[in-house]
Amino acid sequence: MKSDITLTVDGQRYALTVDNRVTLLDALRDNLGVTSAKKGCDHGQCGSCTVLLNGRRATTCLAFAVAHDEADITTSAGLAQDGDLHPLHRAFIDHDAFQCGYCTPGQICSAVGMLDEARQGWPSAVTAEVTSAPPLDTAEIRERMSGNLCRCGACVNIVAAISEVATGRRLAAFPSAAEPRQERWS
């Protein structure tokens, strides 16, 4: 059984017909040829397939495409604009925050979404007082990124890269995932 849906992926609108069993991840990769999001565990446990789904980070392997008709999706590749890498892309490179790179697109999307959540004042499981809006120290970043697994052991550098973007000189250039695409790179 099939359904007609529309997805906007990295600013491009697609109309497609999908078998109802196809996940968002498989629709991206197999139907649209968008391979930025990676298939790791395919069971929601590794985070490799994370994208920004309507502005919020989400895994795509446990979401049927048919249930996300009209969704706006940004992949890690789509975070780059006009040949310019996203500040998180650059920070990952500068900090040597990946080895094989397979989990990196999911890590990047998750970090973008996570920084937005933190900017909204959301607490995490390591926040001592949940009525507060905690600063993004190392413990907070580790907890908030725990849905993304890296088997290479680059984790320490991932935290360092995100920390730099969250707190350092790259902050001013950092766009919000919730903002419309065209306004992100002012």
């Binding site: 059984m1 359904s3 078998d19 109802n20 069993r21 996940t23 395919d42 069971h43 929601g44 985070g47 994370t50 789904l53 919020r56 980070r57 989400a58 895994t59 446990l62 979401a63 049927f64 048919v66 249930a67 998750s110 979404g113 996570m114 959540e117 909204q120 004042g121 959301w122 607490p123 995490s124 499981a125 926040t127 001592a128 007082e129 949940v130 009525t131 580790r142 907890e143 908030r144 990124m145 725990s146 849905g147 993304n148």
Partner: protein
């Protein structure tokens, strides 16, 4: 995965009627558990009725000081809600202790309550499991029991309920509102989930076609001092070995009110009424906290391999109550 038909629910009543009319239909929420089960071959619905776009995504403050949470509210939004954080910090902490940021952005309140056990034998269709296929036998009884139940289990099933959120809701005396083919009803959160008994295949008291529409949190002023504590095999993104949800009212060093529930110990969130009774009117001391835990756990029947859960549960309860009774308590 078998082919299935997909429908967007138009309204509650149509959604309920559609699922009621087809024994192989299911409601679809965020999908983070159901889709996984369809991939694993544990669930094979032929019709999915998507209820995520129904207008059930609001959190409303009630006149009596309580909260009404729509069933389609995402776990991340519920955890971040300012009224929840102020009035029921235990609920925010429980939600944030579960899954990952990406999954909490998808998962819904109703779906979280209806997630099924992560017992490895239930998830592995090549091993016998009475919960998946009644009459097959329970592989866990002779298997790896580290994660299994120590309270309320039966010879047919020793699986534990996985939700962190549900443990907090059990402690808070939440009400679960459901809509069914014969109208609506409200079920106390403590009575939504079942112990396995002879029918481990039934996780809850819901009938086929009944849809969770909202969760209502009654006012509980002393829940501003409440906490969720969780022990697991890694620092984050893992199910509980043992968890504790507690709220404590201490005046002049005496316990005036206590709400306690355990996760990871039973087939359902385990409301610790014996421990609560043991604490009422008693001094807020470690000895009393320890005695209350012993009262609750006296009838526990651990399996070879999960005896550690008893001292773990006792110590976690003592530490949690100590923290809640201290001068620097939240």
């Amino acid at each position: 995965m078998i082919p299935f038909e997909y429908k967007q629910a138009e309204d509650e009543h149509t959604a309920v009627a559609t699922v009621t009319g087809n024994s192989r239909a299911a409601f679809l929420g965020g999908g983070t558990n159901l889709v996984d089960h369809m991939k694993l071959g544990i669930a094979a619905p032929e019709l999915l009725v998507d209820v995520t776009r129904l207008p059930l995504d609001r959190i409303e403050c009630l006149p009596d000081g309580g909260l009404r949470v729509g069933a389609a509210v995402r776990n991340s939004d519920l955890a971040a809600d300012s009224a929840v954080r102020e009035r029921y910090p235990v609920l925010t902490q429980a939600l944030l202790a579960g899954a990952s940021g990406q999954l909490r952005n998808l998962a819904t309140t109703g779906g979280n309550l209806l997630q099924r056990t992560r017992c490895v034998y239930f998830q592995d269709t090549t091993t016998p499991c009475n919960k998946r296929e009644p009459g097959q036998g329970c592989s866990a009884l002779e298997g790896h029991t580290r994660y299994h139940a120590v309270l309320g289990a039966s010879k047919h099933c020793v699986a534990v309920h996985p939700s962190d959120m549900a443990v907090a809701l059990a402690a808070l005396d939440a009400l679960v509102h459901v809509q069914g083919p014969d109208g609506g009803r409200a079920i106390p959160a403590t009575e939504l989930h079942r112990l396995p008994g002879e029918h481990p295949e039934w996780d809850t008291v819901l009938r086929h076609g009944e849809l969770i529409t909202a969760v209502e949190l009654p006012p509980l002023p002393f829940a501003t001092r409440s906490r969720y504590r969780k022990a697991r095999d890694r620092a984050s993104f893992a199910f509980a070995l043992v968890s504790v949800a507690a709220a404590l009212d201490v005046t002049d060093g005496i316990v005036r009110g206590a709400r306690i529930a355990f996760g990871g110990l039973a087939h359902k969130p385990w409301r610790a009424r014996l421990a609560e009774q043991a604490l009422l009117g008693r001094p807020a001391t470690d000895d009393e906290f320890r005695a209350s835990a012993e009262a609750e756990l006296a009838d526990a029947q651990p399996l070879p391999g999960n005896e550690f859960k008893l001292p773990m549960a006792r110590n976690m309860l003592v530490a949690t109550l100590r923290e809640l009774s201290g001068d620097d308590a939240p």
